[in-house]
Structures are given as structure tokens and as C-alpha cells.
């Protein structure tokens, strides 16, 4: 099997296909693995992430689009304008499936178009279409226009006004609510004047043993739907997490100042079920996680936990239909709901403390609507908040950086960690900034000495980072079936072999995860150089210097000294230096010798 990489030069408006041999699959698989290698190789240190030198990768993996569970995902990656390091995000959309049906495994966009452009890939044909009429439209409008022009069989991704206006946490959107790339991948598209990308393919993606794959897929889907957790998952999906977090004082409430919310029952999974109109999800998935309700403007909206927590309790808003409107606005503008919610919460707290004169307070639904729009269109203080909470805090001062809830500039997703040292470390060492996707250890912490800073927590974080952040992001498949319904990991060895003809075990996949982590970290270290330190992996001061004041865990906070010791032990287990940079020995073991010379310019490895 070879990987087919479609290179699209937006400046020259031409394209070519590069075939990558099997050794690339064996070492990097696809998705995040392939993307991180391309970004290391082709995006030089110091490149302006919003300039022509940055490259945007849309990469499926060997399982993407195949008839196996939850395989409708692809990864979108580039140098992040938000974190200024490696950035990516995955998205579940027909575009992932159609990408592979065009006969390509990944697309790499380089250069910058002079005028707004829509790139349509129709099997081997790449068409550069004028997008001047798309530019300025929201993502719902854009998608309708794309379907009208190219037919509803296409799979498409696009940006909204937030991406066009280079908001640092603009996402790439698809299918009215599917979002990916919260590290500002939408802004990278915007900088390239790339309004939309669509795929229409007629080919069957590569399968080494198609019959074997199809035979096992039936059993695999069956295992998922037979799970004892399946029925409840289909009822609430990720929305169960509202109740779970509120019960355990880990909900983000009013800019992460508290962990329980007085109106949690109005925005939790049970409340959602009482309003539920239907479900929505990714292609090839039989455990769809999206739940549809009618929002306060009587329009359909897909709800998931992160969006609800960050736009509800974190803003002091306890009306699920209003939260739905805020979610919809973010989707239409192509604005990340997590960073968007965190930025609005930051402004609400700043107003409360008198740092800004704006008349906005927690619980102010209309004010939140206005501010999300102002951020997307870069109006008023929205222009500052469009740069993210940390950069805004530097302007607003008054020690507000301590409650700018971000790590590596990326706003922390919806888990409040005053009483969760392990989850705080998982956020700190997430490869892209404050994000939960790679490692979510709250359940493990509740089960195993919640308040400890133990080696066991480090091992669990490593285990999840390898599997969720390495393997699943590179296959590229969703990580939810594994834990949520107990889908057996052995399936992935079998499916991978049938798809690629390459026999790999979970030991190999775990090493892939370590390789990706070392490579992504190397990209950050190369970019930051002398400005890099272990402080980049430390959560904001709020979790250390303030305490929860309400609920069973009132008085809880993180211990800075113990956290730093835990971080050091994490680095040791990874074979990284005390400053969190992979050692030369580790890099050699992982086959990443090629990064050593550039890192040695700034680090003693």
C-alpha cells in the first residue's frame, strides 16, 4: 500500500500527486502521524502561521472511510496561529469519506490564493473555483451554496466569518455543526483565502483484503450495539458528562471559578432528553453522539457536552435552548465553542472585576450572543478576544492571566481541575494545548485516589495519550467506542492488517503514539527555542492559587510543588528532559534522529 498525497499550490493554482511508500504508513500511519511529519519537514521554524509558508494538511488514515466502526474522521493540521506550535483537530464528515473515494489519502495546501477560492477535488481532477460569492457567508449558507453548485453527493468542509477574519481559534466546519481544528485551522484556511474544500469520489479506498474487512466489520458493529452501555449512550451521548461533572465538582462554572452549577439540571443530559428531536453523527458510526434539540430561536441544533458546558455553566447560563443558540452562532461563524465560551467567560469576569467597561455579566445570554458575534467579526473588544484569553490578559493586565483559562494559549476544555491533579496533568501535556481529547482520566482518578499525584495517574495518562492521541488520531477513527461502549482494542489490529496488509500490534501502535508525541513536542520546541520551558505545560494560576468554595470539594486546589514533581516524573517516563523536550536517546529510539540537529541549536538533549 502507498499513501497518495495530493499537493495543492494555492498561489500557483496547480496540483500534483505524491506517492509515499509503505514505510511512511508503517512509521506514521496517517492522520496526525502523517501530518506531524509533514509539518516538521515542510514548515520551517519561524514561519508565519497566517502566511504563505504555512501548510494545511487534511489527512485521513488507512481506516478512514472504510466500512469499519466510526471511521468517518480526518485530521486537519498546520502550524497553529493560536499556540504557534503544531496544531490540529479531527472532524467527522462525509468529506473524510469522499476524500478517500477520490483516490487520495491526504491533501496538503500550500501558498496563498490572491482571491477567495473553493477547491473541488473530483477524483483525479482538481478544480479551483471562484469563491467571491461564498466569502462573507456563514457556514450554513456556504454549505447550501456548495450543494447547490456541486450537488449533494459531495463532502465539503468550509470556514465561516471567524476564519475569514483570522480569529485565532476559528475552526473548520462541515454539515451544520461538525467542527474540527480548534487550534485555529479555520484561520489558516482564511489566511489562504481558501473558503471551502469539497470532494467527490467514485473510487473504492484501498483495502488489502476487502472481504475480510467487510466480514469482520459486521461483527465489530454488532459488538458495539450489543454493549450494555449502548442504550444509554444513544440516549445521551456525551451529555451525561454534565451530571457526572456537576456531581463531582468538576464542571466549569463562571470561568472555572466553581465546580458545581445551581442550574445543572436544566442543561444536563436528562434535560436534553426531554427536548430531544433526533440524533446526528459522523459517517460510518453506529453510536452517534450528537443530539438534536430546537434552540431558543426554534431552529435545530446539535448538542454535545463540551459546547454545552462552555456556553452554559461556564457563562452562568442555565437555559439549554439558549445554549443551543450560542452553539449555533459558533457553528455558523466557524468559531470554536470551547475557546469562544472561555473568551466570553473571561470578558464577563473582567467586567465583574472592573477591568473593562463593557456591560456584560455572567448569565447574560444576549450579551454572550453579541460578544460571540463581535469576536467572529473582530468588533470592539471582540477584536482583542479573537486573539484568545492569554493575549487578551496581557493587554488587560491586573493579573488576569491567572484566570485566563488556557495552556499554550489554547483555552482549556470543559473540565475543572481544582481537585483533579491527573486531569490537570493531562491538560498540561496535551500535545496541542489545553484539550481533553488525547487523555481524559477523570473516571480513573475518581476510582483511584482522586487527590493524589501518583505514578499510577501518569501511567494512565501515557496509556491514553498513546492510544487516543497516537493511534486513533492516525487510523483515523473515533476514540469513543473504546471506553464508552467497551469496544475491544483487538479489533484495530485486525482491521489495520486487513486494510493495509501491514501487521502491527498495540505495542507498535503505542510506540507510534510515543513517536507522534515526541515529534509534535519537537515542533513546539523548535518554534519556541530559548523561550520554551516546562512552564508551557503548567495550567493557569487559578487552579493553584484559588479554591472551590461550594460543594463537597470546597477548599480544594492544586498543589504547585506536587504538580511540578508529577510533571517531572511524566517527562522521565517519556524520556524527555527536565524542560519537557525529548532527549536525543528517546528521539533515536523512536526513529526521529532527523529532528536532533535543529533541537540541539537551543537545547541540551
Amino acid at each position: 500500500m502507498k499513501l497518495r498525497l495530493l499537493r495543492v499550490d494555492l498561489s500557483a493554482r496547480n496540483s500534483e500527486v505524491e506517492e509515499l511508500d509503505q514505510s511512511v504508513i508503517e512509521k506514521y500511519v496517517g492522520g496526525r502521524g502523517l501530518s506531524s511529519k509533514l509539518i516538521w519537514d515542510e514548515v520551517e521554524k519561524g514561519t508565519d502561521p497566517l502566511g504563505p509558508g504555512n501548510k494545511l494538511v487534511m489527512a485521513g488514515g488507512p481506516l478512514t472511510g472504510l466500512p469499519v466502526p466510526s471511521s468517518g474522521k480526518m485530521v486537519m493540521a498546520a502550524k497553529s496561529p493560536h499556540t504557534m506550535g503544531y496544531g490540529d483537530g479531527n472532524i467527522g464528515t462525509q468529506a473524510s469519506v469522499q476524500l478517500r473515494k477520490t483516490g487520495h489519502d491526504a491533501v496538503l495546501f500550500e501558498g496563498i490564493s490572491e482571491d477567495p477560492v473553493w477547491v473541488h477535488v473530483d477524483d483525479d481532477e482538481v478544480v479551483f473555483k471562484d469563491a467571491s460569492d461564498l466569502w462573507g457567508k456563514d457556514t450554513y449558507q456556504k454549505e447550501d451554496m456548495l450543494y447547490e453548485k456541486a450537488g449533494k453527493n459531495i463532502g465539503a468542509v468550509m470556514i465561516g466569518p471567524a476564519g475569514e477574519n483570522l480569529v485565532k481559534y476559528a475552526t473548520i466546519m462541515s454539515e451544520r455543526g461538525r467542527a474540527g481544528g480548534r487550534t485555529g485551522m479555520g484561520a489558516v484556511m482564511g489566511s489562504k483565502k481558501l473558503a471551502a474544500v469539497s470532494f467527490n469520489g467514485t473510487q473504492t479506498p484501498y483495502m488489502e483484503d476487502e472481504q475480510r474487512l467487510r466480514d469482520m466489520a459486521g461483527d465489530a458493529y454488532q459488538e458495539i450495539s450489543d454493549s450494555e452501555d449502548y442504550n444509554f449512550w444513544m440516549r445521551q451521548g456525551t451529555m451525561l458528562a454534565v451530571q457526572l461533572c456537576n456531581t463531582n465538582s468538576t464542571l466549569p462554572v463562571r470561568n472555572f471559578s466553581e465546580g458545581i452549577f445551581e442550574d445543572a439540571e436544566r442543561v444536563d443530559g436528562k434535560a436534553m432528553e426531554s427536548m430531544k428531536e433526533g440524533k446526528k453523527g459522523c459517517p460510518n458510526c453506529n453510536m452517534q453522539c450528537g443530539n438534536m434539540i430546537m434552540d431558543a430561536e426554534d431552529e435545530e441544533i446539535e448538542l454535545d457536552y463540551e459546547n454545552v458546558a462552555m456556553l452554559g455553566p461556564n457563562l452562568g447560563i442555565g437555559n439549554l435552548r439558549q445554549v443551543g443558540v450560542l452553539n449555533k452562532l459558533c457553528d455558523q461563524y466557524g468559531l470554536d465553542t470551547i475557546s469562544g465560551g472561555s473568551s466570553v467567560a473571561f470578558a464577563m469576569e473582567a467586567a465583574q472585576k472592573g477591568l473593562i467597561e463593557e456591560d456584560i455579566e455572567f448569565g447574560d445570554y444576549e450579551g454572550a450572543k453579541q460578544l460571540l458575534e463581535d469576536i467572529s467579526l473582530r468588533r470592539g473588544i471582540g477584536d482583542q478576544l479573537a486573539e484568545g484569553t492569554k493575549r487578551t490578559a496581557k493587554q488587560w493586565g491586573n493579573e488576569s492571566e491567572g484566570w485566563a483559562m488556557q495552556i499554550k494559549n489554547l483555552e482549556i476544555s470543559a473540565y475543572n481541575c481544582y481537585s483533579l491533579p491527573g486531569m490537570a496533568l493531562a491538560f498540561g501535556t496535551s500535545p496541542i494545548g489545553g484539550h481533553h481529547k488525547d487523555s481524559w482520566v477523570i473516571a480513573w482518578e475518581l476510582e483511584n485516589d482522586r487527590s493524589s499525584y501518583s505514578d499510577g495517574k501518569i501511567e494512565e495518562i501515557l496509556n491514553q495519550q498513546r492510544k487516543r492521541g497516537g493511534a486513533f488520531e492516525s487510523f483515523t477513527t473515533c476514540r469513543l467506542p473504546w471506553i464508552e461502549v467497551g469496544f475491544n482494542l483487538d479489533w484495530y489490529e485486525k482491521m489495520f492488517e486487513a486494510a493495509t496488509g501491514i501487521s502491527q500490534t498495540w505495542d507498535d501502535f503505542d510506540q507510534l503514539g510515543d513517536r507522534i508525541y515526541a515529534l509534535v513536542r519537537s515542533i513546539f520546541a523548535r518554534e519556541y527555542g530559548k523561550n520554551w520551558s516546562n512552564a508551557m505545560d503548567v495550567p493557569p494560576d487559578r487552579w493553584f492559587d484559588e479554591e472551590l468554595t461550594e460543594g463537597e470539594h470546597a477548599g480544594a486546589s492544586l498543589d504547585r510543588e506536587r504538580f511540578m514533581d508529577m510533571l517531572k516524573r511524566y517527562y522521565d517516563r517519556r524520556g524527555w528532559t527536565d524542560q519537557g523536550v525529548p532527549s536525543s536517546e528517546t528521539l533515536k529510539e523512536l526513529g526521529l534522529d532527523f529532528v536532533i540537529p535543529e533541537l540541539e541549536e537551543n537545547f541540551d538533549l
Binding site: 451525561l240 456531581t247 476544555s413 481529547k437 477523570i442 473516571a443 487516543r468
Partner: protein, 73 residues
């Protein structure tokens, strides 16, 4: 009264999301709960905020939370 908060698929097995049951003498959680028996490997059990299991004896004013293994949003 021992209070139970039962989340996710555990609530489907038990048939309730919240319960209050009078338990005067220590008794294992699994013997107190109504409904279908819960499988140990599927759930996390907390008693007064501390990690426990379905065999943990409770009585009096104990607060029990039972939640499924999950992996975040």
C-alpha cells in the same frame, strides 16, 4: 437515609436515578439496590466522595454515587 445518585447505564439497570433508602446496619451496596444486578467492571462507585465498590457496606447517612466508565466529551 442512605442516598444514591445513579448515573448513565447504571440507572437503567437499577431503574432509578436517585434513591433514598433507610439502612440501619451496614450492608453491601449491591444488596441494597433494587433492579438488575450491576456488573462491577462497568461502574465506578463512590461513597462519601471516596472510591469504593459494590461490596462496600453502607448505612446511616452515607452518600453513594454510581457512574459508568466514560472518556469525556
Amino acid at each position: 437515609m442512605v442516598s444514591f445518585k445513579i448515573l448513565g447505564s447504571a440507572s437503567e439497570a437499577v431503574g432509578e436515578t436517585e434513591l433514598e433508602i433507610e439502612v440501619n446496619e451496614n450492608k453491601p451496596i449491591r444488596e441494597i439496590l433494587p433492579g438488575e444486578p450491576l456488573k462491577d467492571e462497568l461502574y465506578i462507585v463512590l461513597v462519601n466522595g471516596e472510591s469504593a465498590d459494590l461490596d462496600t457496606p453502607v448505612s446511616g447517612e452515607a452518600k453513594v454515587v454510581i457512574l459508568p466508565w466514560t472518556s469525556g466529551g
